[in-house]
């Protein structure tokens, strides 16, 4: 099978794996923070749940939703990275990820983005940037106590 480089670059093994077996794919019954994300262009929908402790550390984070491989893998990888981080660190990661996905910075510029650089390929596909960032936008909304967001 000979896929174009662009597709190979975007649909790397790790993304396909997280798409197939998303981590932390469950609802949390009593979250401290919660938000619903919606990308009306694609129809993608995503719920993000968080438990943040008194020290502002993310004790648990999970998601449930429907979407393309990019958005699902992005959500799954996000949960694994954010767990155990402080709220401020999570927000910083969001900013960095957003800048990378929109081509404003190179992933190599920020060592914290190492595990996220599999998504760097979306910067060449403007229609797919929102797929990659939906989970992060939703996380950000949850942390700001905004219950519903739409990326359109």
């Amino acid at each position: 099978m000979l896929l174009t480089n662009r597709s190979k670059n975007l649909y790397q093994e790790v993304i396909l794996d997280h798409n197939k077996s998303p981590r932390n794919y469950r609802a949390i019954e009593f979250p401290t923070h919660f938000a619903k994300g919606h990308n009306p262009l694609c129809g993608d929908k995503l719920d993000v749940y968080l438990i943040v402790d008194g020290e502002d550390v993310v004790q648990d984070v999970s998601f449930v939703g429907d979407g393309c491989a990019i958005s699902k893998a992005s959500a799954s990888i996000m949960t694994t990275i954010v767990k155990g981080k402080s709220v401020d660190e999570a927000k910083e990661l969001f900013t960095g990820f957003h800048e990378m996905a929109t081509g404003k910075i190179e992933p190599s510029e920020d060592p914290k983005l190492r595990r996220l650089q599999v998504f760097a390929g979306v910067k060449d596909l403007p229609a797919r940037v929102k797929c990659a960032t939906l989970a992060w936008h939703t996380l950000d909304a949850a942390l700001r106590n905004k219950q519903e967001i739409s990326t359109e």
Binding site: M1, T4, S7, Y11, N19, G43, I70, A127
Partner: protein, 420 residues
């Protein structure tokens, strides 16, 4: 009749010849030849149309009507000449029945506003098929909100065809004022029996609003033999420019209707106390019309008339059959819309792969398809799917392009490890 004539077919060489009229078809995408299978979203323009528009822009442009100088007369003749071409193309009786709009959406808004505003009241019923494009839903929804009228849905069967039994029951109700059905569904490809829909509605005194956006590019349309009260379509779906569409309306109905937009050209006289409307079709064409767009659309009509449309329709049927067969080779494939009568369009889902991922990967292989809800959310809800991938063909598409589509889809299912 001679056998060789009845079996006469479009040859691959003829299709290649036609393709040479369409500059964009020579493009490559990611170093692959472009296979443009997004014709239901918008069709491509032949150079005959492109050049007509350019020549108009270069040498004949001026504002139409009311001008005594030669350029204005030329522009008026070209604009009104295009109207005559369109009249003839859809078999309308009179030029008064051909209103230029900015597109199908604008045309249906005109109907809902001007006809609906006068004829639909609280508790009246508007029947809308479950396979309508948002363009034939939202204007009626807005009218219903305003007037207190009710919207009722004509269901569709599992194969994506209209439920005619239920339809015949629904029209028995009193107070049904309008039936809104597309001639061809953009999400499913189904060709609806609009002649029957119109006949049955007419017998009950119900008005018919036929959305012809997806029909007009695929086969010859005759509004009188369909028997539609209103028939709407867009230039950019029949190899003409964007920014223009046509509303056909029966003269009698158009005469009674109040105006839509206000402005120049749609009035006979204006003072601050009193205004009188112009006659048809101008009553509905406020302001400077889409002049070069009408001229381009007229050129598209000429182009289509110059082709053997009947033969090309059969060619598209073969193309559809071939596409359907090849798609069935793909693991996890489920076709959405399998009605007996369809235009050359296939909507589908592949188990475990989101349409957006399919679209992106196909694009990498040079194959342009559309993915999503196709502005037909109720269809998606009906089939309980969030979105589909849609390959929509035109007469210039080839069997090789379908192979290119199939190969690309096989790469998708391999990548995503899809099994049947």
């Amino acid at each position: 009749m001679n056998d060789s004539i009845t079996k006469s077919k479009v040859t691959p060489a003829r299709i290649l010849e036609i393709r040479r009229d369409f500059p964009v078809l020579e493009r490559t995408i990611q170093d692959k030849p472009l296979a443009y299978l997004d014709n239901a979203a918008s069709t491509q323009m032949p150079r005959q149309v492109i050049e007509t528009v350019s020549a108009y822009h270069s040498f004949h442009h001026s504002n139409v009507h009311r001008g005594v100088h030669q350029l204005s007369q030329e522009a008026t003749d070209l604009y009104e000449g295009a109207r005559e071409k369109l009249r003839c193309f859809v078999g309308a009786s009179s030029l008064k029945e051909i209103i230029f709009t900015s597109g199908t959406t604008d045309a249906i808004n005109l109907i809902a506003h001007s006809w609906g505003g006068m004829n639909v009241a609280k508790d009246d019923v508007i029947l809308i098929s479950n396979m309508e494009h948002h363009a034939n839903i939202v204007p009626w929804y807005m009218l219903a909100k305003r007037t207190g009228a009710q919207i009722q849905v004509i269901p569709i069967l599992d194969d994506g065809s209209l439920d005619m039994n239920r339809f015949s029951e629904l029209i028995q109700q009193p107070n049904v004022k309008a039936v809104c059905v597309n001639h061809v569904s953009n999400a499913l490809g189904s060709v609806n029996p609009v002649e029957e829909v119109c006949r049955m509605s007419r017998e009950k005194g119900i008005r018919t609003v036929i959305d012809g956006a997806q029909a007009i590019g695929h086969f010859p349309v005759d509004v009188r033999s369909i028997g539609a009260d209103f028939y709407a379509f867009s230039g950019h779906k029949m190899h003409g420019p964007t920014g223009i569409g046509v509303l056909y309306g029966r003269q009698e109905l158009l005469e009674e209707m109040g105006p839509y937009k206000g402005g120049g050209d749609m009035i006979l006289s204006v003072s601050f106390d009193n205004i009188s409307w112009n006659e048809l079709p101008y009553k509905f064409e406020a302001g400077t019309p889409p002049i070069s767009q009408a001229v381009g659309l007229g050129a598209a009509v000429d182009y289509l008339n110059g082709l053997d449309r009947q033969l090309l329709s059969s060619y598209e049927d073969e193309l559809l059959a071939y596409t359907t067969r090849r798609l069935m080779e793909i693991p996890g494939m489920q076709l959405v819309g399998t009605a007996a009568k369809k235009v050359s369009l296939n909507s589908f889902v592949i188990k475990g792969v989101h349409p957006h991922d399919i679209g992106t990967i196909l694009d990498g292989e040079g194959v342009a398809v559309r993915t999503g809800q196709h502005c037909a959310e109720p269809v998606m809800d009906r089939f309980c799917i969030p979105a589909t991938t849609r390959a929509s063909m035109a007469f210039y598409n080839t069997f090789e392009e379908i192979d290119q589509l199939t190969d690309a889809l096989l790469k998708v299912t391999e990548l995503f490890d899809v099994t049947d």
